[in-house]
């Protein structure tokens, strides 16, 4: 990889590499290869430590380890000497594909694969040259091993060389190791953040302590879009420990010595709300209105052939309507944001997935330039999309509260605030009409989706919304690999608006499109009287990656052999975030008609792997996340109020309900894909298809409930 210009930054003692392509160079490079925007950091210390700075947030997905592996692979350093830190918010850490510092879209590992390896190679090269200068030999005569530069029988450690290497100018180009020489990439590696996380030492945003800091809870409108009309804080102020009550755009903040006082203070507030039209919202009525919408023509997103005519002339026609509810992310760590303001800068401690956007939002409120907004990133207690907020609402609120209170403040959300706080996976309805030939093969496919757009009306609208179609609302349906085999197809979209803030939720559009697509494909298979696996093989004839994954999952699940008494199997395969995941679920139904999932056999093709142990964890975790939604998850609204509030009524999977999940990672030379999200979407249809095989009841609504 050749770099147009680099800078060596000195930070304390040791070697700190930042390579920085100036604006002009970047633009030129972007033209040629838009995914390359290299900037990264590694610090080799005189104490032999190798510190990796992460441009992305660790929220459980394992990049603390996988990105460190990329640097270590090229740096050839002692793995036990690696330390990892979150990088600050700065343009140098912009996402290589999106140009903005953020964590999401299952992009971290593939988008950093070249950049982090290159940084490792550059640091190694500088250490080698420092050693060559010391021994007065040619760099080529040296080699490295496990944090040492070696010349014949002599050795110098990276720590010994760190200061001399720091004085050298970085190499103009580096050659990355060929795959055959990799020692770490592709090998199962245990996580580097385990020691802190099993001893209670890991710091999350909610754990942050800043001198003089107070804790605040904010009373927000009980319905979306409501505003404070008036409030009486006299009783709240009388609560011991409550110090201030301040109004901010999102509501009334009670600032106290600790969480408990802030909570009691907030409970004692008396607020009159101007609720606005959000008070009319009713999820049942909303669903009915979406169903009506989906019956009529929407904005056309895909039109190939004449689907209307082909449907009218089809030998047989199948119609089905699928619906999915609003879903909360319910990260285990509730949202929180700590802010310390002074005249010139704004310091923020928070678990965010959206540094670039949050920094700009905070700067505006604090009245300081963006570079004076310093974001410290502790570990994130789960993300799943909840902390990549397009309007930066929880960071903005934190800055507002700190500004109004005039002291450093940590704003903490309660679980109830979290469950009722909106920013949900939106509710959607899919209406699918399929015309099939005599053999049951689909010839015409008309598919109408109704549900809120996540991106319309946001900063990102111009990137993802085209001709009125938010590509994320139909991803996984519009580009479904099954549809390539269907000669006439039309995908339409309705994007109604309402007061509920929508949000990315692990797997985004795929979380509902995979359910609709894989359920319908299964319905077609049964209607044709064909085995669901064999039927799919015909549709996926030109899609070897999908077919191989499906076959592998089916084989490991024992497809074709009788399941244990009282159980049945269902399958699904989905292509998302550049990766393919096939899942076979084995289910039973108990006397109270509760669905029990016993086994999930997964096969994954995500291209080149970095850490298979991490991939297995992400797939298992995504299955759990998807299963929570498939079996229990629903946020419902009545008179604008969210009816759920905590884990007793927003149920998630618990350990007795955990199926045995096996994960096969397929050898693949496909382009590297993502792994945090792709295994989420196939589980709901795999379970629904298994339930059908067992009961002959086709469940078309999530969460799945037998009647």
């Amino acid at each position: 990889m050749t770099l147009s210009r680099r800078e060596v930054l000195v930070s304390g003692a040791g070697l700190l590499i930042a390579f920085h392509v100036p604006r002009k160079g970047r633009a030129a490079q972007m033209d040629k290869k838009p995914s390359v925007n290299p900037n990264a950091f590694v610090r080799v210390g005189p104490d032999e430590s190798v510190t990796v700075l992460l441009a992305h947030s660790e929220m459980g997905q394992g990049i603390w380890t996988s990105l460190a592996m990329l640097i270590a692979e090229e740096l050839d350093c002692d793995w036990s000497k690696i330390r990892v830190e979150h990088a600050p918010a700065a343009p140098a850490y912009a996402h290589t594909a999106y140009g903005l510092q953020m964590t999401g879209g299952s992009t971290t590992t593939w988008s950093e694969f070249d950049r982090y390896r290159t940084v490792g190679a550059m640091a190694r090269e500088m250490l080698v040259r420092a050693a060559a200068a010391h021994w007065k030999v040619r760099p080529r005569s040296l080699h490295t091993e496990n944090s040492f530069v070696v010349y014949r029988t002599e050795r110098l450690s990276y720590g010994q060389l760190a200061e001399a290497a720091q004085r050298l100018s970085p190499p103009v180009s580096v050659v990355l190791k060929p795959k055959r020489d990799w020692k770490l990439i592709g090998k199962p590696m245990r996580r580097l953040d385990t020691p802190e996380k099993i001893t209670g030492k890991a710091q999350f945003g909610i754990d942050v302590q800043v001198p003089g800091m107070r804790t605040a809870l904010v009373a927000r409108s009980p319905v979306f879009g409501g505003k404070v009309r008036s409030f009486d804080a006299s009783r709240a102020r009388a609560v011991p420990g409550v110090e201030q009550v301040v109004q901010v755009p999102s509501g009334i903040a009670v600032v106290a010595a600790n969480f408990w006082s802030a909570k009691l203070g907030r409970d004692a507030l008396q607020i009159e709300w101007d609720l606005g039209p959000g008070a009319e919202l009713d999820s049942g009525k909303l669903l009915a209105s979406y169903r009506d919408l989906a019956k009529g023509p929407g904005t056309v997103a895909v039109a190939i052939g004449d689907a209307d005519a082909a449907l009218a002339g089809a030998a047989r026609r199948l119609e089905a309507e699928y619906d999915v509810p609003y879903l909360a992310h319910a990260t285990m760590e509730p949202l929180n944001c700590t802010v310390r303001l002074d005249r010139v800068r704004c310091e923020i401690w928070t678990g965010t997935q959206f540094h670039g956007v949050d920094q700009m939002a905070a700067a505006q409120i604090a009245g300081v330039p963006p570079q004076n907004v310093i974001i410290h990133t502790p570990f994130l207690g789960g993300g799943f999309g909840r902390r990549a907020v397009l309007d930066s609402h929880f960071v903005a609120e934190g800055v507002h509260v700190a500004k109004a209170a005039g002291v450093p403040v940590k704003v903490v959300w309660t679980r109830e605030d979290d469950i009722r706080g909106g920013h949900y996976r939106p509710m959607y309805v899919h209406r699918v009409e399929v015309g099939v030939d005599e053999k049951g093969m689909p010839q015409a496919w008309r598919h109408t989706v109704a549900g809120q757009s996540i991106l319309v009306g946001t900063l990102f609208e111009k990137f993802a919304v085209k001709d009125g179609v938010d590509a994320q609302s139909i991803e996984g349906a519009a580009d479904s690999p099954y549809l390539d085999a269907v000669p006439a197809r039309k995908i339409m979209l309705h994007s109604p608006r309402n007061q509920v803030p929508p949000q990315w939720w692990r797997s985004v559009g795929n979380s509902h499109t995979a359910f609709a697509m894989e359920s319908m494909i299964d319905e077609l298979a049964w209607a044709a009287g064909r085995d669901p696996l064999e039927f799919r093989s015909a549709l996926l004839a030109g899609k070897p990656r999908l077919w191989l994954a499906l076959k592998a999952a089916a084989r490991s699940a024992g497809w074709g052999t009788p399941p244990p008494q009282g159980r049945a199997r269902g399958l699904a395969v989905h292509d998302s975030f550049g990766s393919i995941v096939a899942e076979v679920a084995e289910v039973s139904v108990d006397a109270r008609k509760r669905i029990r999932v016993h086994k999930v056999s997964c096969a994954v093709d995500c291209g080149q792997t970095v850490n298979p142990l991490g991939i297995e964890a992400q797939v298992q975790g995504a299955v759990v996340f998807g299963l929570s939604a498939a079996l229990f998850g629903a946020v419902t609204l009545k008179e604008g109020r969210v009816e759920q509030s905590n884990f007793h009524d927003y149920r998630v999977l618990r350990i007795p309900e955990m199926p045995e999940v096996t994960v096969q990672i397929l050898e693949s030379d496909a382009k590297m894909g993502g792994i945090g999200e792709p295994a989420t979407a196939p589980i709901a249809p795999a379970v629904a298809n298994a339930v059908y095989a067992l009961t002959r009841q086709r469940l078309r609504s999530l969460p799945l409930r037998l009647t």
Binding site: D193, K197, I198, T199, M332, A617, F647, H648, R654, I655
Partner: protein, 153 residues
Amino acid sequence: MKLEVNGQVREVDAPDEMPMLWALRDLCGMTGVKYGCGMAQCGACTVHLDGKAVRSCVLPVAAVAGRKITTIEGLSPDGSHPVQVAWAEADVVQCGYCQSGQIMAAAALLAEKPDPSDEEIGRAMAGNICRCGTYQRVRDAIRRASSMRRTRR
């Protein structure tokens, strides 16, 4: 009032009804114990009270004064408790937020039942939610810790 946390007696100035969770976190600065729900639904706040796993988010601090409280910070001085060792070997953690509670619940289970069945593991750990979905490795780690303790004896 006086709290005995991890073998140390601490004087805290707390209203009687303040949940032990907030006394530990906000008054003692022990942040290994986590807030997740505030109503004993998720287990993130699990600590040991006289050796038994309890949910500190619903126990008034006055009710625990003078009793022995163990938090994740006091489970072992260096992460060497068999449950912690097993957790590391099984590579359980993801985001890590619920893990203090998971580990404390698992340690209490194994103290009482050194060789728990899968059903007993399920029952003892049902109150500990993990949104990352680490359950399979949690189960694996508990089995490992159990066999570690058996071999040690």
